[in-house]
């Protein structure tokens, strides 16, 4: 770990700005306007889920809603619809909390290959994910306005590839994880920084499948990442 050429670089900036170099704390001013804080202020969780569902249409993402008890059945329906047989899931304690352990174990007894991401498994994880039909993660924070799942990929089982390499991405979204927009997610992270807590090494904000509009501005889905995305909102236990 090293920092190169900093002193000269920063002193040049200070000189151009016509003052001494600042390395002590600079106070952020109070901004004179804050339109983001007013947006969707009075929305209930149900309002947010409705807004999210509408936005899913815009971002070409399949929206489904279910209970914890029905979640395994719904997942099985999704797999059948996709003709999926290889599934990679993020190693997340919520798999057990939502009763999915038994479901996945049972799946492997039929024709399914289910791989749970664990950092210690090394490149085996990536190889499986690259050939998987479906990748599944839980959403940590969900942004209703933009139809976005936020994944806090810190360590262990939360591989970044799970939501990226398989052909279809499925996000399981606890209803309690909904917030109105990016503002609230960024505030949560800002508070963590202020408290001196470590941040996840990689935070992914995912709003639908990969897409591009580079050829005559035509929308093309699945240029690099998943070609299909499904969001399943689950009422909390």
């Amino acid at each position: 770990m090293a920092i190169y050429n900093r002193e000269e670089f920063l002193s040049r900036i200070a000189e151009k700005l016509g003052r001494e170099q600042k390395i002590e704390s600079v106070n952020r001013p109070t901004w004179t306007t804050a339109p983001h804080l007013e947006l969707y202020r009075d929305f209930s969780k149900d309002d947010l889920v409705n807004m999210f569902e509408t936005q899913c249409d815009v971002i070409h993402t399949h929206f489904k809603q279910t209970s914890v008890a029905e979640l395994p059945h719904l997942l099985r329906e999704c797999f059948d619809e996709l003709n999926a047989q290889k599934v990679v899931i993020a190693g997340d304690p919520r798999i057990e909390e939502y009763g999915l352990n038994r479901f996945f174990t049972k799946l492997t007894e039929s024709d399914f290959y289910v791989h749970t991401w664990e950092a210690d498994k090394g490149d085996e994880n990536i190889e499986f994910a690259a050939n998987a039909d479906v990748g599944i993660t839980f959403s940590d924070i969900t942004l209703a306005e933009s139809g976005t799942v936020v994944l806090l990929n810190d360590s262990g089982g939360k591989g970044r590839s799970v939501s990226l390499l398989p052909r279809t991405y499925i996000a399981i979204i606890p209803k309690s994880s909904f917030v109105p927009r990016m503002t609230q997610a960024m505030q949560q992270i800002h508070i963590r920084v202020n408290e001196g807590k470590l941040l996840p090494s990689c935070i992914n904000l995912i709003s639908g499948p990969s897409n591009s509009a580079d050829i005559e501005m035509n929308l093309i889905v699945g240029v690099h990442g998943p070609v299909r995305a499904t969001y399943i909102v689950v009422s909390d236990k």
């Binding site: 920092i3 990689c202 591009s212």
Partner: protein, 480 residues
Amino acid sequence: MGIKIGEKSFFPRVEEGIKDEGMRKAVRSAQDRLRSMKLRATDELGHWEDWRLLGEQIRKHTVENLDYYLYQLSENIEKNGGHVFFAKTAKEAREYVQKVVQQKKATKAVKSKSMVTEEISLNNALNEIGCEVLETDLAEFILQTDDHDEPSHIVVPCLHKDREKIRQVFKEKLGYEGTSKPEEMAGFVREQLRHKFFEADIGITGCNFAVAESGSFAIVANEGNERLTTTLPKTLITVMGMERIVPTWEELDIVVSLLCRSAVGQKLTSYITLFTEPGGRSTGDGPEEFHLVIVDNGRSNMLGTEFQSTLHCIRCASCINVCPIYRHIGGHAYGSIYPGPIGAVLTPWLADYKEYKDLPYASSLCGACTEACPVKIPLHELLIKHRRKIVEDENLAPFPEKMAMMAFTVAAKSPKMFQYGSKLAPTLLFPFTNKQDHTIHEGPGPIKPWTEIRDLPAPAKETFHKWYQRQQEERTNGDL
């Protein structure tokens, strides 16, 4: 590639652009669509002027305290396990990246879309040391495949190519045999690129915004190639322009919201990736080693000048999408990887003033760019300031124009000479005056370039002084 594209000077490039009907049609269509998508997105959001004001305040404060925030950023990145290199020039940036690549004995790199790496000509530098660099953004991949064709827009770099041209390029260079359906061609690119990510030793990205308070950085994208670039190779090198920074995560919310809506009319793009400790492979994937290269390359020359607000730019291209000049001449005419109004303001600072002295004149000064800018950069005013600087400080006005201005100065200082000149002008310009509409279409000397493309009203036979005198007399005589 560097900041400069093409070898021709400004007017021949303009001429080529105007004659390229296919390109102009593509630009018109893209501008209209991007503009209407942006308007819809900002209308939905509401209070857009408040958002712009907030964006302006954040960018102004950050740039005014840039040394502090860069210090904080670098401290935090080092603490998180990364390396930070401050590069004063493009050469320093290139050499540092070359050194890292050589240390890693890397021969293959994948790169996601980044303007600053184009600006510092990074691909050439890596090719020179035997490292193959693959552009993985669909548009950049098309340009690279087409013998390194030049980008013509900041956000949609291959805007000037229609689907048939792209099919032809794929057929000739890659043996593609499919149709010109965008989905089919994109599917072909997906197959071409997928395995390259797994082979690459190095991933290279740009940086939309760094967050000083935690040493984090954000990449805003749609395709997913930046995620592959930052997830699979073992070494990640990120290059950022020194001004692309915000104080905290709370400001990141605002600038990302402004960027996504202004650039492509989306609430958020499909992928926004935020790294804090990219090194370590703690999730079982992601890079083991991380290098951030912070580039000045002429940016600091704008600090403390009347052009400082140029550094507030968040590269959304919304000024390009409303510019009537860009609409007519296209992106290549600017001769810079940064086209449109922001390019006309930025390029003369980042490159040679002499070479790009024509760009500030490539504007109707209608102010549409200023109105479109999400962080309220007064672009058309800055273009006027450039013009003053070109004439007065840099002394770069063309010789005939200088002579004409000197003559005018002499004449305007003497009332007698001014009156004499005013009387003489209609007679001198009579041979060039169209009798039907009383305008000059192809004037002599320094007014020639102007009158070739615009109508200049011919001087009236009666001078203003004469007219005024006559009015006064008529008023006194009671005729009025």
